[in-house]
């Protein structure tokens, strides 16, 4: 009889423990890890500074590729402004991808900048272990260029 009562006590303790665990799991449930989220940002040099060129560099560890999820290309003019005809934002290690840019003189404005371009399906770098760069047009007297690469790295 004593053995039977002891067994029942152990069962009850286990049942309470399980119930407590189940409740704890429900209460602490989190959103899942998104393993192909763009978790890195390479911010370009000379960010939005007139009369300079901007270059963003996304580096990858050895053996891994850069997966680009988005690019940002800004081109904002100061109070004087300047026109620019048929210039390009270029890249390296992305199959030669580039983006065009022209603008009329538009003081204190950013017309025609490519802005943010998203890749719902990521763009994979050509070479593993090699950086991807995004380079603005050459320095323009009254335009501040900005470049940014949003990415993650993986095999």
């Amino acid at each position: 009889m004593r053995k039977f009562l002891a067994f029942l006590a152990i069962l009850a303790a286990l049942a309470l423990g399980q119930a407590h665990n189940a409740a704890a799991q429900a209460l602490v449930q989190q959103s899942p890890t998104h393993v192909d989220a763009g978790n890195l940002t390479a911010v370009g040099t000379n960010w939005n500074t007139v009369n300079t060129q901007s270059t963003a560099t996304a580096t990858a560890p050895g053996g891994q590729y850069v997966y680009v999820t988005a690019l940002y290309m800004g081109a904002c003019q100061d109070g004087t402004g300047v026109a620019a005809a048929n210039l390009n934002f270029t890249t390296t290690n992305l199959g030669g991808a580039e983006f065009a840019y022209s603008t009329a003189l538009s003081a204190n404005a950013c017309p025609n900048e490519p802005g943010l371009v998203n890749f719902p399906v990521p763009l994979k770098a050509a070479q593993a272990g090699t950086a991807v760069t995004l380079v603005s047009p050459a320095a323009q007297s009254h335009i501040g260029f900005a470049t940014e690469i949003f990415y993650y790295t993986a095999p």
């Binding site: 192909d36 997966y67 005809a85 048929n86 199959g95 030669g96 991808a97 025609n112 990521p122």
Partner: protein, 157 residues
């Protein structure tokens, strides 16, 4: 009494094992790395006469024999120089993609107004025939407009 001790020891051991497994699973989730993405865009076809006024641009994505082109994005630019040229109801056209095309009109003005820009496909667009190239073709040459065409893609069966 010995049976009861044996039962208690067994239950204690099972509890330790269960706790260990639970903690191990949590640790794995926290250190998980990004995997290889097999359907990432691995190639870019950059068009001819890129952003050069008075010329037409054509991008060509060529798959190996027996494989299709899966298009993840298209880029179409049309930037005018300081002289500018108005364009009315012109089109960027494609081949090998079911006749897909994109419209373009612009007033004469230095800038890139009216260009389609980057068009992305959350689900890739598969070419019509295996082993056949996909092309993206700008409107015909326009005096003061530089066209750019680009195909972002990968190839697979």
């Amino acid at each position: 009494m010995r049976k009861l001790r044996f039962l208690a020891a067994s239950l204690l051991l099972a509890a330790f094992i269960a706790a260990g497994l639970s903690e191990g699973a949590l640790a794995q989730a926290l250190i998980q790395a990004s995997p290889t993405r097999l359907d990432a865009a691995t190639s870019v076809a950059v068009g001819t006469n890129w952003n050069t006024v008075a010329s037409q641009s054509t991008a060509t994505a060529t798959p190996p024999a027996g494989q299709f082109v899966y298009v993840t994005a298209l880029y179409m630019s049309a930037c005018q120089n300081s002289s500018g040229s108005a364009t009315a109801n012109a089109n960027f056209t494609t081949t090998g993609l079911g006749g897909m095309e994109f419209a373009y009109s612009a007033a004469a003005a230095e800038g890139c107004a009216g260009q389609p820009g980057l068009i992305t496909f959350a689900t890739p667009q598969k070419s019509a025939a295996a082993g056949t190239a996909v092309t993206l073709v700008s409107p015909a040459s326009t005096t003061n407009t530089g066209y750019g065409t680009e195909i972002f893609y990968y190839t697979a069966p």
